[in-house]
């Protein structure tokens, strides 16, 4: 373990099923599990999304964000580099910065005016020499020894990730090539522009939201918007990528343009009317352009523990999942466009932003469903959820009718938490 970090909190007294297809409900309910997560996951060897490089465009720009419950300050200094450190004064623990985003020459704690530069070095202590030769800090006080803890940082195609554990692997190794390629597909070589930021308060444990993100097979069942309005494309190809360690995933689908054209002409030739009773008054909502020159119209990508990069047609967003309690979660949405977008493309992004977020036609239900589970499992702390769709492994597949990426999430999670893996029925994965 790195200096300054405490040993991982052992959860060995708790037994976890050997099969990846079983998830005990107590994991969403218990305060001791929640506390251990803060230590083992969020302060542990994981990379956590912090902000976009684009949000720190100029020297002096800063972003006050979180890793789990830990407040963190990310800055850009005049050397052009990005720095991150705990947003906590080394003196008495008050927040150093309170604005979420801003611009600063340096940071002065409001409590006793200890001052830090943009790299997080303590540069000034009020009354350090005392007054009239009396009081003040002791002779052996050394400012250099009193700075907030710095984070390890990594930047991936404009996404800034940080870790509180020096033992975290290099980000390339952590993500794996397939995940890196899919991040590059959306963000590589492009300069993102922030179009809006919103926070959605979820009435459930943070892991229920991550399960939902990694569960592609609920989409056409829970989210009826596309099917109700006859906009669903049933002839799409796609698949699920599960990273080698299981923790990260990509769900994607693509339009088969040949089949589309053929189907359209078939319908036209036969003069068949659509079965759909309802339709949108303004179907331009789903008019889209090829996002990066390929046929992929949907790519949902997650990085453990709590990051999501989304392309839903031309709606691009990043989501930061932050636990705020056993049964409360903050979901931070940042909607993106790109510097090279035409006015028309930005208009398309604005219209399609109606698909996502707290009022999104296809994602508003995700804000509520976790709460339905949280309430449903009250009193079922000794029982298990079952994840048998698509087998019991955590591997990639061409089918999206699988819970493989959710199983992968739990595989990484249970290892990091140090549960005792029990002997139950099911494959040893």
């Amino acid at each position: 373990m790195s200096e300054g970090s405490r040993a991982a909190t052992a959860m060995a007294a708790r037994s976890w099923p050997r099969s990846l297809a079983e998830v005990p409900y107590w994991v969403f309910q218990e305060e001791d599990v929640y506390r251990a997560e803060q230590q083992n996951i969020f302060h542990g060897p994981f990379w956590n999304y912090l902000c976009l490089e684009a949000e720190l465009a100029e020297p002096g720009d800063f972003c006050a964000t979180f890793i789990g419950e830990q407040p963190v300050l990310v800055t850009r200094d005049h050397d052009g580099e990005i720095y991150a450190f705990e947003n906590r004064c080394a003196h008495r623990g008050a927040l150093i910065a309170m604005e979420h985003y801003g611009h600063a020459r340096d940071f002065t704690c409001v409590y006793h005016a200890w001052t830090y530069n943009l790299q997080g070095d303590l540069t000034g202590v009020a009354f350090e020499e005392g007054i009239n030769g009396k009081g003040g800090m002791g002779k052996d006080f050394c400012k250099a020894a009193h700075s907030p803890r710095r984070l390890r940082l990594a930047s991936v195609h404009g996404l800034v990730f940080g870790s509180l554990d020096n033992d975290v692997p290099e980000i390339e190794e952590y993500l794996g090539q397939e995940i890196l390629d899919r991040i590059e597909r959306v963000l590589g070589g492009r300069k993102p522009v922030v179009l809006g930021r919103f926070t959605q308060e979820l009435p459930n444990n943070w892991k229920l939201y991550m399960e939902n993100v990694k569960d592609s097979y609920h989409a056409s069942i829970l989210h009826l918007f596309f099917t109700t309005f006859g906009l669903n494309k049933l002839n799409q190809k796609g698949g699920i990528i599960v990273s080698e360690n299981g923790g990260h995933h990509v769900s994607w689908s693509a339009i088969n343009r040949e089949a589309e054209a053929k189907a359209a002409s078939t319908y036209k030739d036969q003069n068949i009317r659509s079965d759909s009773e309802y339709q949108l008054e303004d179907p331009s909502l789903v008019d889209s352009f090829s996002e990066v020159g390929d046929d992929i119209t949907l790519q949902i990508l997650s990085v453990s523990p709590g990051f999501v990069l989304q392309q839903i047609q031309n709606s691009i967003a990043v989501r930061q999942v932050l636990p705020t309690g056993v049964d409360t979660t903050s979901l931070n949405w940042t909607y993106l466009g790109f510097e090279d977008d035409t006015e028309e493309q930005q208009l398309t992004r604005m219209k399609q932003s109606n698909l996502v977020g707290p009022a999104g036609y296809v994602s508003m239900e995700d804000g509520a469903i976790g709460g339905f589970v949280q309430r449903g499992i009250a009193g079922a702390g000794s029982e298990f959820a079952t994840l048998q769709m698509g087998g019991d492994q955590a591997v990639s597949s061409e089918s999206r009718v699988t819970e493989a990426s959710i199983r992968g999430f739990w595989k990484v999670y249970r290892e990091a938490m140090g549960f005792t893996v029990g002997e139950t029925e099911g494959a040893d994965t």
């Binding site: 930021r197 308060e201 909607y335 109606n354 707290p358 508003m364």
Partner: protein, 155 residues
């Protein structure tokens, strides 16, 4: 000719009644055909960020909001109660006015308690056309950047 304050007050009374007591289908009828409607936050608004939680640039998109919440979206039944302040009128003429109005919205989910759901202000552009007072633009600026669970009914 009725004065702008009275026209706007009447229109807003009718607007919140359509959302709170229904029929919700009456809500889009308070807008012109090419009206702009956006729900955003004070922080986004101050920074000039264009995206919205809801974003519509015509009345047809507002009708789609209503049909989606009636036919497609899945959510726990809930209701709002809007409390509006007096409209502060910035500009007015024979044909229209711009105004700003504070709102507070409480939400009652299922049979649950009455929760404060949103506060903010409407930044409005009204047109007076014949006997009608219609919104040509409404930007709903919520004071907080946080939205509890989801937003199905409009503000």
């Amino acid at each position: 000719m009725t004065d702008a304050f009275t026209r706007i007050s009447r229109a807003q009374g009718s607007y919140v009644r359509a959302i709170d007591d229904g029929p919700i289908e009456d809500w889009p009828e308070h807008f012109t055909d090419n009206a702009f409607y956006k729900v955003t936050t004070a922080d986004n608004h101050r920074r000039g960020l264009p995206a919205g939680v809801i974003w519509a640039d015509n009345k047809a998109m507002l009708k789609d909001r209503v049909s989606a919440l009636k036919e497609a979206n899945i959510y726990e039944p809930h209701a709002y109660r809007h409390l509006l302040g007096q409209p502060a009128i910035a500009e007015e003429s024979e044909t229209g006015a711009t105004s700003e109005t504070s709102f507070l919205v409480v939400r009652i989910t299922g049979n649950g308690p009455t929760d404060i759901f949103a506060s903010g202000r409407y930044l409005d552009e009204y047109v007076f056309t014949g006997g009608r007072t219609l919104l040509n633009k409404r930007i709903v600026v919520c004071d907080s950047s946080r939205i509890d669970t989801l937003l199905v009914l409009p503000l």
